[in-house]
């Protein structure tokens, strides 16, 4: 079945440094959608960005990610971390064959320190 791997469970960075959260996935479906969801403390998870286009950079709220089907990766990046970026980040996959099921990774907790 489909799977999403986020190797880093916890990432701690100093404000101003670049952010990179890793995401790799497995699916047999070539038209899969990949997502990043962000979950701030005491809020609901919400969509940060999504893509189904190979090698196209997707950007939102200062974050960006590029889907690379050749390496089955969809890493999340930001050039300069802010304190407000501290949150739980989920990579997720939908196989896009019509059953509307999304598989989430285990999540990466990002903590930004002054």
């Amino acid at each position: 079945g489909d799977s999403v791997t986020q190797k880093e469970g916890l990432v701690t960075l100093t404000e101003g440094l670049p952010v990179m959260l890793n995401c790799t996935y497995q699916t047999i479906y070539s038209n899969a959608f990949l997502f990043w969801y962000v979950h701030y403390l005491n809020e609901s998870p919400r969509l940060l960005l999504k893509s189904s286009t190979d090698n196209k950079r997707t950007e939102h709220q200062g974050f960006h990610a590029t889907l690379h089907k050749s390496s089955s990766s969809f890493h999340l990046q930001k050039s300069s971390a802010q304190l407000s970026d501290s949150a739980l980040y989920y990579c997720a996959l939908s196989p896009n064959y019509g059953n509307e099921k999304i598989t989430f990774g285990a999540g990466t907790k990002l903590t930004i320190k002054p």
Partner: protein, 114 residues
């Protein structure tokens, strides 16, 4: 703006107890989902539905029943609660039209089974 509400927001019960978690969405979405969120496991899909009367099995269904009574309402039932079901439960909805795939999450229900 998508609207998903959950009740109760917090629930404490004892082992063997009977619990019903409620979810309502006012987005006219076809798809609704129940997830549990646990540290180290991320968001795991329990059950989902694509319309009133429909139920699809998720990835961690054991010990849970669900029922979709209307397009708006989706219930999660724990008939013999166990401490392993202590978790944060999220409901979500999506339009499932093959274009967006974005899921809109409710505020969560924190369940403690003693």
């Amino acid at each position: 703006e998508a609207a998903v509400t959950q009740s109760p927001r917090n629930k404490v019960t004892v082992t063997g107890g009977n619990v019903t978690l409620s979810c309502r969405q006012t987005n006219s979405h076809n798809y609704m989902y129940w997830y549990r969120q646990d540290t180290g496991h991320g968001l795991r899909l329990i059950h989902y539905s694509y319309g009133a009367g429909n139920l699809q099995i998720g990835d961690v269904p054991d010990g849970y029943k669900a029922t979709r009574t209307t397009q708006e309402d989706f219930f999660l039932l724990l008939e013999l609660a166990s401490p392993s079901q202590t978790s944060l439960y999220f409901c979500a909805s999506s339009d499932g039209l093959g274009v967006s795939y974005e899921q809109y999450f409710g505020p969560g229900t924190r369940l403690t089974v003693l």
